[in-house]
């Protein structure tokens, strides 16, 4: 997306053929290493450099992936993981952003709570997985809860930091115009905080997938994490890799989606690379 924007609009409209060749070269540059990697993955097992039993060739993995797609099995697991991560992630957004704004707005609350929050943030969510399972069982609740837990801290801490770090001059400028505290918050603090909050949201997006897959590997009856461990237990190694590939794609998808939204919200920010 960034590169598309980098191509001047005039070029794109005035000469489609030049635009085409630029797009083609860009595509080539971005994909060449990926293609080489896939090629290596294909060749290494067939030539016996690695054991094909544990590391099947790329084509086998793609075939397994295709079969999983056709049977609808992949979609079933994908949907299960997606629903869990999105529920936990959305709940975290709903809780952490308003809470972070409130804590950030009151210096005393910030000072009191910061040590506790730092402690929680640095507690690996997965270390608490047994606790979540003990308290909430192995059903959906515990999985959504652990995603919620993992997502909450980066969003919360970034939101608090964002509110605390708004340029004092902007606040002074707005205050000199005699606006109410509520308006100051709504019109100055909030928009100024958006970029920093988004950093937290993206961190949470990555964390959501990571934690969920691990939780699904430990105890679940569906989901991509379950697909991977289940395939491994049954020695369906191509299926296992198909699951891993899907997770990588899912992660990519979420990250891309979030950056698109982020760019929409922080259009006004100076792009470092442009």
């Amino acid at each position: 997306m960034e590169n598309i924007k980098a191509v001047p609009a005039t070029l794109q409209s005035r000469n489609i053929r030049i635009g085409w060749s630029i797009n083609f070269r860009r595509l080539l540059k971005q994909s060449i290493v990926l293609v080489l990697l896939a090629l290596l993955w294909e060749i290494a097992p067939s030539t016996g450099i690695v054991d094909p039993a544990f590391f099947p060739p790329f084509s086998d993995v793609i075939r397994a992936l295709w079969d999983l797609i056709l049977s609808g099995e992949l979609f079933h697991h994908f949907a299960a993981s997606m629903i869990r991560s999105l529920s936990g992630f959305s709940l975290a957004l709903l809780i952490a952003i308003p809470l972070g704004l409130a804590i950030g707005w009151y210096p005393l609350a910030r000072e009191l709570l910061n040590p506790v929050l730092e402690l929680f943030r640095n507690t690996a969510a997965l270390a608490l997985l047994p606790v979540f399972m003990l308290v909430l069982g192995i059903g959906e609740t515990s999985k959504i809860a652990i995603v919620l837990f993992a997502c909450t801290w980066p969003i919360l801490l970034n939101t608090i930091a964002a509110v605390g770090n708004v340029d004092p001059l902007l606040i002074k400028s707005a205050r000199s115009m005699n606006i109410s505290s509520f308006k100051l918050f709504l019109k100055v603090i909030l928009p100024a905080s958006v970029p920093t909050i988004f950093t937290g949201i993206r961190m949470a997006g990555t964390g959501a997938i990571l934690v969920l897959i691990a939780a699904e590997m430990v105890g679940a009856k569906e989901g991509l994490g379950y697909l991977i461990t289940y395939s491994q237990y049954n020695f369906q190694i191509p299926e296992m890799f198909a699951g891993i590939l899907t997770i990588a794609l899912l992660g990519l998808l979420i990250n891309q989606g979030l950056s698109v939204i982020e760019r929409k919200f922080s259009r006004w920010k100076q792009q470092v690379n442009s």
Binding site: L169, A174, S176, N178, I179, K183, W268
Partner: protein, 269 residues
């Protein structure tokens, strides 16, 4: 209160509690300004000049109502200033534009604070963008504007909500010399057109003499008024090189001498 008096300082002092550098954990009182007494006339362009540490910015915070004096009073139109208000507009050295709003959006911000209806806001914003010569840049974000343009937007923003008094805190200090001169004469033009009372803080002697009908010379430690110098220059805008005019040179030298008197006495050597 004399008829044409706009702002009056009466024995104003402001001190802060600061950390004591000699003693850990201890605090001491720091007096930024004291014994400040002067008046600003209606429609006057007055400049305040002084070295750093003479309380210029404190003074501005006091007029804007963002802080209250420790003792003494400040009056505007005969009423004591007790808080910020849209009857005073501030232009800061670092522009203080909202980066997520376009040039027009920034100007509309103050109008919104004033409660101007939406359809009028846009019209007024256009008018003031035209006044500072930035009609073509209405939809640019601050980071897409040069320093001079940003300051023009900031000036337009402050003028748009129609304050009686414009407070300017070293607004041109961060600009290059060429842009600064352009903006100085443009500001004079705007002042003549709008008839606002302008209180302009600077550390540049040339700037103070060029812009001000009167120059308030401040001295530090703690900041107080040393003297108010009348600048008898007329037709500043008609004379292209007013800075070489004998009257200008004379006035400039007077201000310079006042600021450097302390050095001659050896206080700062």
């Amino acid at each position: 209160m004399p008829a044409n008096e706009k702002i009056r300082f009466e024995n104003v002092a402001k001190s802060f509690i600061v950390r004591d550098p000699k003693q850990k954990g201890a605090t001491q009182q720091f007096t930024a300004v004291k014994d400040l007494s002067f008046t600003v006339k209606e429609g006057e362009f007055i400049t305040l000049v002084g070295p750093s540490g003479c309380g210029k910015s404190t003074l501005l915070d006091l007029i804007s109502g963002l802080t209250r004096p420790t003792s003494g009073r400040i009056y505007m139109d005969g009423r004591e200033i007790t808080g910020p208000g849209l009857d005073r507009g501030i232009v800061f050295q670092q522009y203080a534009l909202f980066p997520w709003k376009t040039a027009r959006g920034n100007i509309e911000f103050g109008l919104e604070a004033k409660g101007v209806p939406k359809h009028e806001r846009k019209e007024l914003a256009e008018h003031f963008l035209a006044l500072v010569g930035l009609s073509a840049f209405a939809n640019r974000y601050p980071h897409e504007l040069s320093g001079g343009m940003k300051q023009r937007v900031a000036i337009a923003r402050s003028l748009a909500f129609n304050p009686d008094v414009l407070l300017m805190d070293e607004p041109f200090a961060a600009l290059d010399a060429q842009t600064r001169e352009t903006l100085q004469s443009e500001l004079l033009r705007i002042w003549q057109k709008t008839k606002k009372t302008i209180i302009f803080i600077t550390h540049g002697i040339d700037e103070a003499v060029y812009l001000g009908e009167r120059v308030v010379v401040l001295t530090p430690g703690p900041g107080t008024v040393k003297k108010i110098v009348d600048i008898p220059l007329k037709h500043r805008l008609d004379d292209a090189d007013i800075r070489s005019h004998p009257e200008f040179v004379k006035a400039r030298h007077e201000v310079w001498s006042l600021l450097h008197e302390l050095e001659y006495q050896g206080a700062y050597i």
